[in-house]
């Protein structure tokens, strides 16, 4: 009997667990280790953050699902990987510390035959002084954060109803953040909600970002073929900002968030500050705090993980200038090159480089988006790695690994711009491939046929449809595997 241990139960880890158990049945053991008891459909947190959904609508407990599927669930945090085993065993193992209230404080060493690191991001609020719910700004990264943010938003609306002017800032809280798409979505949901509550006139809505241009979204922007012209996501996004009267501060690195004041530096070196009544700023991400040790207990963390804490996989990590970046730099199998039974998927794998052009201020502050790894590619990675491992368990070590490079994978991004079955709106974008490949697509690095963008009510329905479909899928309901990642 083989044992597969999966660290993390987010989109990629949970997808991997469901596919593995479906393939391996009861003959083999699948263990999921996650510090959280609940699964969260994170893309809908923006709706929790404006009071349009509740935490219960975007989360569900994992334990009953795993019990039904025969997956062993440990509510615990992974602390260290021992890929060579330890003095007692040759099998690789993981040290875990229970966060389960019933076993709180207990530690355990779990051996594995295959390991999937799907730990997702560590929300690195500490990178910016004063950033985050424990500081002076808000977040929608977790359902609990989003709930707190909704309560703060209600207070701002009350102030507006009393006739007090309010400044609402939404964006990213560090020069090296990713997930600009989520910040964009929350900006326009806030703006839409202010209009719906009849208090838009006294509100100044500001989008603060590390993007060089609007519409970059951490993927270097997109080009669309529309009405006989190749147009850019920049123009398309700016049009929405103009239509909705939202201000933008671009190319910004937030240095510090004081109570009611954001201090930032811009790419040209200028410093600015912005007073606010409400600020939702996303944090930068880094890898989970995982250590790695060899058989003798020597620290090999730097061999397995990049300096940002993400697991190194089959990518080309050689430093090279932007002009030399290639689609082939990106990983295909997500297998760790040092230990062939270890894989990294979703946000947990180390990208070889950003997708947007890297830039820094005269002082050397990096102000450019990190590459996003959204739900669609994360789910696909989880699935292909699950099948690769199942193939190797069933057919032996020579079974070929399945592949899914972000340079040959497309993605659909639905950026909500307001909720409501009749009044909602969203920007629906597709891009193919996610990582530009100028060798295949010389004009813009992506297929002009498959890279599209449109705004409308129908896109909001799609976002809502995906909300229900993916929660159905994640609950492992009948036919779940027929819903593509």
């Amino acid at each position: 009997m083989a044992r597969v241990v999966i660290l993390g139960a987010g989109i990629s880890g949970h997808t991997a667990a469901l596919h593995l158990k479906r393939r391996l049945k009861r003959a083999h053991e699948v263990i999921v280790v996650s510090p959280n008891a609940d699964w969260n459909w994170i893309p809908s947190n923006i709706w929790v953050g404006v009071g349009r959904m509740t935490t219960q609508q975007v989360t569900f407990p994992l334990r009953p699902i795993y019990r039904r599927k025969g997956i062993d669930f440990r509510q615990a945090r992974a602390a260290a990987i021992r890929p060579e085993g330890d003095g007692d065993s040759d099998s690789g193992s993981v040290d875990i510390a229970y966060t389960d209230p019933v076993r709180l404080g207990e530690e355990e060493r779990l051996t594995y035959d295959f390991l999937i690191n799907a730990t997702g991001p560590k929300l690195n609020f500490a990178a910016t002084p004063g950033l985050g719910p424990d500081g002076n700004s808000l977040s929608v990264c977790t359902a609990k954060h989003a709930e707190q943010t909704a309560a703060a938003f209600d207070k701002v609306v009350e102030a507006l109803q009393r006739g007090e002017r309010q400044t609402l800032v939404v964006g990213v809280g560090h020069g090296a953040c990713t997930c600009e798409g989520a910040a964009f979505e929350y900006t326009f949901n806030v703006e839409n909600e202010l209009r719906a509550r009849g208090v838009r006139e006294l509100a100044d809505v500001v989008y603060l970002t590390n993007e060089y241009d609007l519409g970059d979204f951490g993927v270097g922007g997109m080009s669309f073929a529309q009405n006989g012209f190749v147009t850019s996501s920049k123009m398309w996004t700016e049009s929405l900002f103009r239509e909705r009267n939202v201000r933008a501060i671009l190319q910004a690195h937030v240095e510090r968030v004081d109570p009611g004041v954001i201090h930032y530096e811009q790419l040209d070196g200028t410093k600015g500050s912005l007073e606010f009544d409400f600020a939702m700023l996303l944090p930068p991400f880094r890898g989970a705090d995982l250590k790695a040790y060899d058989r003798q207990g020597g620290d090999i963390t730097a061999d397995l993980f990049a300096p940002n804490g993400f697991l190194k996989v089959d990518a080309d990590y050689a430093a090279k200038p932007f002009e030399d970046w290639k689609a082939e730099d990106w990983p295909r199998t997500y297998q760790c090159p040092l230990y062939r039974n270890v894989f990294g998927v979703g946000i947990a794998f180390a990208p070889p480089h950003p997708i947007s052009r890297p830039r820094s201020s005269p002082d050397g502050t990096v102000i450019s988006p990190a590459p996003p790894r959204t739900g669609m590619p994360s789910g696909v990675m989880g699935r292909v790695v699950a099948h690769s491992i199942a193939d190797r368990i069933e057919r032996g070590e020579t079974a070929p690994l399945q592949t899914a490079s972000m340079a040959s994978m497309g993605a659909a991004c639905i950026a909500s711009a307001g909720a409501g079955m009749r009044t909602g709106s969203a920007a629906a974008m597709t891009m193919y491939p996610i990582v530009p490949d100028t060798a295949r697509f010389p004009v813009s690095g992506r297929s002009l046929k498959e890279t599209t963008g449109e705004i409308g009510l129908g896109a909001h329905w799609t976002k809502l449809l995906l909300h229900y479909l993916f929660i159905y899928k994640a609950k492992g309901r009948p036919g779940w595997f027929l819903i593509p990642e």
């Binding site: 609007l214 994978m409 409308g456 009510l457 129908g458």
Partner: protein, 48 residues
């Protein structure tokens, strides 16, 4: 006015007809179907 504000101020503003189309139920039903077909095509093409 800074560069970002200038760029936004010069961006194309949707006409009333475009705004109507974005919220027109029959038209958006068609766009909803079209977008979902496009997504499925991408899944088939890129997710192997």
């Amino acid at each position: 006015m800074d560069d970002a504000a200038r760029s936004i101020a010069e961006a194309p503003l949707p006409t009333r007809r475009t705004l109507r189309a974005r919220s027109s139920l029959p038209f958006q039903v068609l766009r909803f179907v079209a977008f979902n077909i496009r997504m499925l095509r991408m899944v088939k093409k890129g997710h192997h």
